[in-house]
């Protein structure tokens, strides 16, 4: 009985050791999980861009404004760098505009004279997770320390946003990445292993048609997955799309993301020789992209090295674009950068996909 068990043990172990990529991924995966997950979520939030402005009519800076600006810029949690990165505005209008463009996460309006009972106002970008609450409590603490007598009015500019709404938008993008990387890529590798793709090659169908057909079907599949979650978000999480232009923008982002990811997967699936290696690599890749996308925790809370990943992570741009459109109701002026980034990614991925897949056809 034991001999049989040992034989099976040996066989399994031999196979395990003979696929280096899978082996590497199996061992490194939990460690990366720890590092990325831990840093992406547990990281302390610092350097929140916060605006300060003195109420109109503006004559000279009041002591409260000067003291408040100073105190806010120095405010920090124990043993951490400053919580805020302060930007002073000359008028409320300019501050409001900066908030609308997402340049600051909120701004404090100090009263224009020192009479008691004059209130201080805080406008805060409520679409982020944990950041608004942090701003609000910290500003309140600073005001108390300064002995400001008047009350603090808080204005959540995008209303109260549930975590479900915040997270739901990220899941749209995640759905696109997941379906394509898991479903599409593995199906492609299996087709290749079974010789089905070689079967195409002895028919008069053109090489370019094969690639076009594959990217096309994958894109539509990914788009439908994303769109389905979008509908679920509307129904369950209660997000709203305000105008036809915004709907069109959402569709554009979904489509560009879908075609880019599909092309990327075609490229990756062409390079991996078996399903196991592909699956373990892609699981890691998926985690990294998703964690650093800001889909379920603000990017601002991540350490610098992870934030660099965010900069080259197409998923982050897609999440940011969707959140801007759906939750903040912003338009092309804000998501323009995201669209350009996605466009670069998509074109790059298509070229890479075509080049890599063509090589496997030769």
């Amino acid at each position: 009985m034991l001999r049989g068990a040992v034989a099976i043990f040996r066989r399994d172990f031999k196979k395990f050791l003979s696929t280096p990529i899978a082996l590497f991924m199996t061992l490194i995966f939990p460690i990366m999980y720890l590092v990325i997950f831990g840093n992406a979520i547990g990281g302390s939030i610092t350097g929140i861009p916060l605006g300060v402005v003195q109420e109109q009519p503006y004559i000279t800076p009041t002591p409260l404004y000067l003291a408040g600006r100073e105190a806010l810029s120095l405010y920090h949690q124990p043993d951490k760098p400053a919580l805020f990165s302060i930007r002073a505005f000359s008028s409320e209008g300019a501050a409001s505009q900066a908030l609308g463009l997402g340049e600051v996460s909120g701004y404090v309006v100090f009263p224009s004279d020192v009479a008691p009972n004059r209130s201080t106002k805080l406008y805060v970008d409520s679409s982020e997770y944990t950041v608004p609450a942090l701003i609000q409590s910290s500003v309140a603490v600073v005001l108390v320390q300064l002995g400001a007598m008047g009350p603090l009015y808080v204005d959540n500019v995008y209303g109260t946003i549930d975590y479900l709404q915040f997270f739901g938008v990220g899941v749209i993008v995640m759905a696109i990445f997941m379906t394509t990387m898991m479903g599409g890529g593995i199906a492609l590798i299996r087709d290749r292993e079974l010789g089905i793709i070689e079967g195409y090659l002895v028919t008069p169908v053109k090489r370019s048609s094969i690639i076009l057909g594959m990217i096309g079907s994958g894109t539509v599949r990914a788009f439908l997955a994303g769109f389905l979650i979008f509908i679920v978000d509307i129904v369950v999480a209660g997000v709203i799309v305000r105008t036809p232009e915004q709907f069109l923008l959402v569709v554009t982002v979904l489509f560009m993301t879908s075609i880019g990811v599909t092309s990327l997967v075609v490229a990756l699936a062409s390079r991996f020789s078996n399903q196991q290696e592909y699956a373990s690599s892609i699981a890691f890749f998926n985690l990294l992209l998703f964690m650093t996308s800001g889909a379920f925790y603000p990017v601002i809370g991540m350490p610098d090295w992870l934030r660099w990943v965010t900069v080259i992570n197409p998923e982050a741009y897609a999440v940011h674009a969707l959140r801007s459109i759906i939750i903040r109701g912003q338009g092309l002026s804000v998501v323009g950068t995201d669209l350009v980034a996605l466009l670069i990614f998509t074109i790059g991925a298509i070229l890479l996909g075509i080049a890599t897949f063509k090589r496997t056809l030769e």
Binding site: L194, G195, E198, V202, T203, P204, V205, K206, S273
Partner: protein
């Protein structure tokens, strides 16, 4: 089987026939004997890890309308040759013309006139029988009506019309094989390549597949068949090419190949009591190569067994020897192969050469 063109291995000299009257789709039937494949000094050398000559200076022609068998042990170069002819691989040197198209230059044209049924099934198991055929019809750029008609025609042909909507994964090995063969035939190709069409099938399914192949051949399609099985080649092929270690070692009709073995025909005559004098009488026939007496039987090896038999029986009668049993055995392809290579078919398994199927 129709009497095939008697052509042994030789480099085709000044044959100009391939270029005439074959432009476009209209192909005159009367040109039965034009060559549909011309291979001239074709070689394929793999040099990835070590240099392996998979195909070594091979030249031959395949005539239109014949069933052409390509035989040889594993690693003989059959699959490589097929891959070159089906444009999946480029030759290192030499030339191969399929119909009127060069396989290295007009790849897409070549793909339009061939049908390929690979050794490893490439059916989509998750699709139905109908969808599999329909899909290939579309890849072959047939129009909708033609596809519909052809698919039903072909399903009818293989007796799967009632299973048209069933997933291929529910089919038996024989059903899948037949489906795959007719799939390669959906666009009525001039040439059908079948790589080991009956590998792994039970005897009944093999006979079914053979019937299928003969049937397709009657539609004026040339069939190139690679096989391990000697009986398959004997049953189906008009001409047979033997490959071994990348070289073409023989090419002829079965009858001619059998004749190449001196004394290949074995006649056995059983007797009750024996008279030695008859041996000299038998030996006096010029066709006889050897005579042996053992186990109550006279074993005669000869060149022309069938025509010699009456004369042998006369000899026995003359010496009043009672004949109890009589058998005549023609040399099998296996005998031919052993004769040509000096070795048994099975024991010559060379290491599999080159990327026979690449999974990059």
């Amino acid at each position: 089987m129709p009497p095939p063109a008697q052509e042994s291995i030789k480099t085709p000299g000044l044959s100009l026939m391939a270029t005439e009257g074959s432009m476009g789709e209209k192909r005159p039937d009367q040109e039965k004997s034009r060559s549909i494949i011309r291979i001239e000094h074709l070689s394929k050398v793999f040099s990835a890890h070590q240099v392996v000559v998979a195909v070594d200076d091979v030249s031959f022609d395949v005539m239109q309308g014949e069933i052409f068998g390509l035989l040889g042990p594993n690693g003989a170069g059959k699959s490589t040759l097929i891959r070159i002819l089906t444009t999946l691989m480029m030759p290192t040197s030499g030339r191969a013309i399929v119909d009127v198209y060069d396989v290295t230059k007009d790849q897409e044209k070549v793909r339009g006139v061939i049908g390929v049924c690979p050794q490893n099934s490439s059916l989509d198991l998750e699709l139905s029988a109908y969808d599999n055929l329909d899909f290939f019809g579309r890849l072959q750029n047939l129009n909708e009506d033609t596809i519909k008609r052809r698919v039903w025609e072909l399903l009818e042909m293989v007796g799967l019309s009632d299973r048209a909507d069933a997933k291929v994964s529910t089919f038996s090995g024989g059903m899948r094989r037949k489906l795959e063969i007719v799939r390669a035939f959906i666009h009525r190709p001039l040439l059908l390549f079948l790589d080991e069409p009956t590998i792994g099938l039970d005897p009944e399914s093999r006979r079914e597949v053979w019937r299928q192949i003969s049937l397709l051949n009657t539609e004026n399609t040339t069939i190139i068949l690679t096989t391990h099985y000697m009986d398959e080649a004997e049953k189906l092929c008009d001409r047979i090419a033997f490959m071994d270690q990348g070289r073409l070692i023989a090419l002829d009709t079965l009858k001619q190949l059998q004749k190449t073995i001196p004394g290949g025909e074995k006649i056995e005559v059983g007797f009750v009591h024996f008279n030695d004098a008859v041996i000299d009488a038998i030996k006096s026939h010029p066709e006889v190569r050897g005579v042996e007496v053992k186990g109550g039987k006279v074993h005669i090896s000869s060149q022309q067994g069938t025509s010699l038999l009456p004369a042998i029986l006369d000899d026995f009668e003359r010496y009043s020897i009672g004949v109890t049993t009589l058998s005549i055995r023609h040399p099998s392809l296996e005998d031919v192969f052993i004769h040509l290579t000096g070795k048994d078919f099975g024991e010559r398994d060379a290491p599999v050469v080159g990327p026979s199927r690449r999974v990059p």
